[in-house]
C-alpha cells in the first residue's frame, strides 16, 4: 500500500512540472493556432538563466525565478514580434518551420556558447526530503509542484478575471469576432507568447533545483509537453494541468507495475485511447 502511495506522490510531483511546461504551449496554441516548437528551447534558456545567475551572482534558483520569468517572457514576446508575426497568414507548414527553425537556432546557439556539458546548481536553498509515515517527499520537487500550482492559478485568474485576460480568451475563441469588438489581436498574440514564455521560464528555474542543465534538455521534455497538451485538450489550461498530473502518475505506476521499459508505451497508449474516445482531449472545448 505504501509503495502505491509513494508512486502516486512521486508521480504527482513530477506531473505538476509537466503541467507547467505544457501550459505555455497550450496557451499559445489556444490563442493563435500555432505550435511553438521552440518551447523546449525556451525551457532550456529558463534553466540557463537560473544557472548563470547562480554562477555569476550566487543567486539561488528561487531568487532567479522572477528574473527567469521576465527574461523568457521577453524572449517569447520578441519571438512573436520579430519572427512569428511575419508568418501569421502563411500556410501552416511555414508556421511549423519558423518555430522549428527558432528551436534549432536557439539550441545550437546554446551549444556554441556553453558547450554540450551537463551542469547543475549546487547547494540550493531547497534540498533534501521529509517523510510523512513511510511516504517520502522530495523538497525541491515539492517546491516545483507548489510553484507550478501558483503560476497556473495566476494565469487562470488572469484569464478569467481581468479585462486583458478576457480579451485574450475572446481572441482564442474567435479571432475575427474579437477584432470586430475592438480587441487589438496583434497585442493579444504577443501577450500569449509572452505569458507562454514566462510560464516555461518559471518551469525552467524550478527544474534547476533538481535537474541538470544542458543545451538539448528541451528535447527531453518537449515530446511529453506536446502529449500533455493534446491529452488535456487543445488550448485548455485546466486540461494541461490535469493531463500533466495524469502523465506523471501513469508513468510511475506503469514503471513499477508493468515494467520501466513500458512506461512511455503505456502513457502513449492511454493518450491514443483518449484521442479516439474524446478527439478534443479531456477538456478540449473547441
Amino acid at each position: 500500500m505504501d509503495i502505491i502511495l509513494q508512486i502516486i506522490v512521486s508521480g504527482l510531483l513530477i506531473g505538476f512540472v509537466y503541467s507547467l511546461i505544457a501550459i505555455g504551449l497550450t496557451l499559445i496554441y489556444g490563442v493563435m493556432d500555432i505550435v511553438n516548437f521552440a518551447h523546449g528551447a525556451f525551457l532550456m534558456l529558463g534553466m540557463f538563466t537560473a544557472y548563470w545567475l547562480n554562477q555569476l551572482f550566487n543567486f539561488d534558483p528561487l531568487l532567479s525565478l522572477p528574473i527567469s520569468i521576465i527574461a523568457i517572457y521577453l524572449l517569447g514576446w520578441l519571438s512573436y514580434k520579430f519572427v512569428v508575426n511575419k508568418v501569421l497568414n502563411a500556410p501552416p507548414v511555414a508556421q511549423i518551420f519558423v518555430t522549428f527553425g527558432l528551436m534549432v537556432f536557439l539550441e545550437n546557439l546554446a551549444l556554441f556558447l556553453w558547450s554540450p556539458d551537463f551542469r547543475i546548481i549546487k547547494d540550493t536553498f531547497v534540498s533534501g526530503d521529509f517523510n510523512i509515515g513511510e511516504i517520502m517527499f522530495n523538497i525541491p520537487k515539492l517546491i516545483a509542484a507548489l510553484g507550478s500550482v501558483l503560476i497556473t492559478g495566476a494565469i487562470f485568474w488572469f484569464m478569467s478575471k481581468t479585462r486583458t485576460g478576457r480579451a485574450l480568451k475572446a481572441t482564442a475563441i474567435n479571432r475575427d469576432a474579437a477584432k470586430l469588438m475592438g480587441i487589438n489581436t496583434d497585442k493579444m498574440f504577443a501577450l500569449a507568447w509572452g505569458i507562454g514564455g514566462g510560464a516555461v521560464g518559471a518551469a525552467g528555474a524550478l527544474l534547476t533545483n533538481f535537474y541538470y542543465i544542458f543545451p538539448t534538455v528541451g528535447a527531453t521534455f518537449n515530446l511529453l509537453a506536446f502529449v500533455t497538451v493534446a491529452l488535456g485538450g487543445f488550448g485548455s489550461i485546466q486540461g494541461a494541468l490535469v493531463a500533466g498530473l495524469l502523465i506523471g502518475i501513469i508513468e510511475n505506476l506503469a514503471g513499477v507495475f508493468i515494467g520501466p521499459a513500458f512506461k512511455y508505451a503505456v502513457v502513449f497508449a492511454i493518450f491514443i485511447l483518449v484521442i479516439v474516445i474524446r478527439p478534443n482531449g479531456l477538456m478540449g472545448g473547441k
Binding site: I3, Q6, I7, S10, G11, I14, Y18, D33, V35, F37, P92, I96, F100, G101, M103, V104, E107, N108, L111, S115, P116, D117, F118, R119, I120, K122, D129, M136, N138, K141, F210, Y212, F214, P215, T216, A219, T220, F221, N222, L223, L224, F226, A230, F234, G248, E251, N252, L253, A254, G255, V256, G259, P260, A261, K263, Y264, I275, P279, N280, K286
Partner: protein, 436 residues
Amino acid sequence: MRRKWLMILLVIVLSFSTALMGCSSTEKAKSGDEGKTTEEVKVIKIGVIYPLTGGMASAGQDQKVGVEMAAKIVNGSYDLDIPLAKTEGLPNFGGAKVELVFADTQGDPKIGLGEAERLIEEEGVVALIGSYASSNTAATSQAAERLGVPFFNAESTQHGLTERGFQWFFRSIPHDFGFTQNLFRFYDELEEKKGIKVQKIGSAYENTQFGQGSNEAQKHFVKESNREMVVDIAYTANSTDVTSEVIKIKEAKPDVLMMASYVNDAILFQQTLKQQNYMPAAIIGMEAGHVDKDYVGVLGKDATHILTSATWSSKLIESKPIVAKVNEMYKQEYGKALAGYVPHAITGGLVLMDAINRAGSTDPEAIKQALLETDYPGDSLIMPWQGVKFDPETHQNIYGSNLLLQIDEEGEYEVVWPFDVATKELVWPAPSWGER
C-alpha cells in the same frame, strides 16, 4: 482543428525521431595548424563521425577532440615514442597530411547511416572512425561495410558489433562480454580474499544496443556462476524521471547494481537513489556514462564510492611516461586533462593513421590488410593495454583489458581491482546516504 492538431503531432513525432536538432551540423576542419604552406600538398581524408549534437553531444565532442589530437600528433613533429609522431605527416605518402572530415550522427542511427554514406561517397574519405554509442556505430559501420571502406571503432562495447562477420570493421576497446566476465571474476575474488559474498545481482541498462549487450552478458555470467538476477530494468536513456525504476530496485534489494548508462541517465539515477534514500552495497557502472567528466562534475560528493569498470584510468598519467607526455600536450591544446574516452579516441586515431601509412596507398583493400597486420606496441599506447592486434576473424583487439575503479571522496577515480595494481583500498559496502 483536430486534423490539424494530429498533423502537427505527426510532424513532431517524425521530426523528433529523425532530427533531434533539425540540421545536420557538419563541419570541415583542417587538422594541424600549418594552413596552406606549400603549393599542392596531397591530403589523406579520414571521416570522423560522432554524436556532436543531441543528448550524447558531450561525449561525442570529446571523441572528436581525441581524434583531432591524434591527427595533430601525426601531422606535426613531436618527440614522442609513438609511431608517426617524430615525422611530419605520413612518410609513406611523401609527408601528406591527414585531413579530418567531421559528421554528426545527432545520436540517431538513421542519421548516422546517411552521414557515413555521404562521407564516403561525396567527401571521398579513405576510412571512417566513430561513433561512440553502440547503436550509432552499428549503423555507421553498416555504410562502411556496404561501400567497402575500413571503419575503426575505439569506444563501443556491445559484443555483437564484432560478431556480424563484417570485413571492414575493426575495434580496439574490449567488448562487454570481456568486461562482464572480468567483473564476475572480481566477485569471486571478493569472496575468496575478503569474505564478501555477492549473490543477488541487479541490472539497470539503457535500452539500446550498448545496454542490451551488457545485460545479455550479465545474464550469461549470472547463470554460469549460479548467482541470481533479482531485478532487471531496461530504461530510456533520455528519461525525464526514473523514480519508478529506482523504487523497483529498492524493493528487490540487490547486493550489487550493475548499470550500463550514458551520462545523463547515470546522473539521474544517482540523484533519484539519493531522493529515495537508497544505496545498494555497490553500484558498478559499465564505463560509458560513469566515467564521463560530467558525472563527478555534476554529482560532486553524491558520486563517492561508485564503482565503474574502465579501460583507462587517470592514474596512468602518474605511472606511464607516455601518457604523461600526451596529457601535457593535450592540456596545452585544450586546457583540460585527459579524461573519459578521449584517450580511446586518440588511440583509435593513431592506430588507424599508422595502418594507413603502412598501407602506403589509399586503396581500401591495402588499408584493411595493413589493419589486419597491426601489431601496435603497448609501450607506445596511452592505454593500460599490452598492445593492439586484431583477431583475423572478428577484427576485435585481442590485447584489450579493463580495470575496476572507485570514486573517492575527492572525486578521483582510483584503481581498486585487480587487487595487485590497486591505488586505493576498496570501500565495500558503500555507506548509506545517512552515513555520508
